[in-house]
Amino acid sequence: MDASDRTIATERIRRLQELAREAVRADRPDRARRYVRLARRVAERHRLTLPHRFRRFTCDRCDAYLVPGRNARVRTREGHVVVTCDCGEHARYPYD
């Protein structure tokens, strides 16, 4: 593996993220889930860190791509933000 492999992998992850978001908007959450899982697998194989936005807007439990207002709720609480997936999973993120 060299740098060009990593570039391709990074581009693939970014592309899959866009596709997952479009799929959720087009009411194809099953397809979006497939893309999220594939992006995770690509990152794993190439030892890449997933983009910040990807980590925050995908469900750790069911791999859904989260679009607030569509399949996720975002609530601000004291000291943290809570993102709730339709599957019931909560993720809490600090403000900083």
Binding site: I8, E11, R15, E18, R31
Partner: protein, 108 residues
């Protein structure tokens, strides 16, 4: 973004594709967007025809790459779309593994 050189190792999902040739006539001419990929097949969503699963090894695919800005004639205009023909056999690999194959190794 995918270029003709990197396409076989790049993300195929989302790209417009047409089956240029296949060992079975039923697949020839199928077109649409790639919506899913498995080790041995591509799922192509054609408008009106629904999603069809096409075996990679048995087909030759023609992908359309959206034109980049590089070869654009005028500023702000998009370059012409490029058509890339790939022998499906080169794509036979698990989706996440494909990026790692260079396709020029003599080792299995």
């Amino acid at each position: 973004m995918p270029t003709p050189e990197t396409l076989p190792r790049h993300e195929l999902i989302g790209l417009p594709v047409r089956v240029a040739d296949a060992t079975h006539d039923g697949y020839v001419g199928l077109g649409g967007r790639v919506v899913d990929e498995t080790t041995r097949t591509l799922a192509v969503d054609g408008s009106g025809t629904g999603v069809r699963q096409v075996p990679k090894a048995a087909a030759t695919f023609e992908f359309r790459l959206p034109g980049t800005g590089d070869d654009a004639p005028a500023h702000g205009a998009r370059g012409a779309d490029q058509f890339v023909t790939v022998a499906g056999e080169r794509l036979v690999a698990r989706p996440a593994r494909r990026t790692e194959h260079r396709g020029d190794s003599i080792w299995r």
